[in-house]
Amino acid sequence: MNPHLILRVVAKFLIPFIALFAFYVQFHGDFGPGGGFQAGVIFAAAIILYALIFGIDAAKRVIPPSWVRIGMTLGVLLYGGTGVATWFLGGEFLNYTMFAPESHHAAGQHWGIFTVELGVLCTVASAMLAIFYAFASRLPDLSDEDW
């Protein structure tokens, strides 16, 4: 009998819900507490839980380090790209009303906020995961005497 059986079963049950909760927090940031930062950290926590229970190599098969590297830059590019897109549409940097100039209920602002929060989610989740991978993959140079 695997001594960590309870941990593995409970983790397998919980991890999809944690990831789903992260996306819920991301998309409901306009209507309640939430937003990109909280969602990014919660998503990284789901992957960290998977790595703690099933091993760091299994987690690196799920989210390879190359994806993490790309994710960090993709978030910043999304944010800056939104600003540059509003330049091309005729406004100032990060003036979201340029996305829908004739709307009476601020649709342009909603689209702009949606995109930048997506960028923040990508960067924060990837950065937290990168830091965890870095600490977990480094081999300690002292033997584990006693905890």
Binding site: G34, F37, E117, T123, S126, A130, F132, Y133
Partner: protein, 212 residues
Amino acid sequence: MFTPIFALEVGLMAMLVVVAIAVVRMRSLFAIVMLQGVYSLLSAIWFVVLDAVDVAFTEAAVGAGVSTVFMLGAMLLTDRDSKPISTQQKIVPLLIVVLAGAAMFYAIGYMPAFGDATAIVNSSVGAAYVEATKREMFLPNVVTAVLASYRGFDTFGETTVVFMAGLGILLLLGLNGHAGQWRAKPNGHNIGNTAPNAKRDDTQENSEGGSA
């Protein structure tokens, strides 16, 4: 004045002070890191009592979550206990801290009263943001509207800071844990290895290239 909310606040403040003093006195690093997580969680509860729900969410997720994980990861790679310091080394820090605390207590009289709606800090820009969100943004969460739209430049800078932190970690430790532990020979010169437990074979001339 002595409502249940006030009793809750006093209880939280007392627990925070106890945890902070315990961090000062303890020497086991594992206990100190866990106490720091407890401190973050208690302040997240106090944030909810102070009506700051977004901040409480972030503090609970970041402070009591990933911050504790990172510290435990760093502790796994270093030491488990801290050495005690002599009493003589504690005098000057205590003096500095007491003097700074006294100066801040002297300035307490000039701070706005707790919960005052007419103080300048609460009635000028903050209230204007609430009114502006009602009139033009049509988003219920005022904090998201201010963070992503009215103060969007600050959030751009913050995202870049998180990116730079990830980049710094990649340079210091490496995504696979190998930063600083590889050998490279550009132009025939051996680039030294900083980790003391890595194999040091400076006399070997056939170590090729580097692996990142």
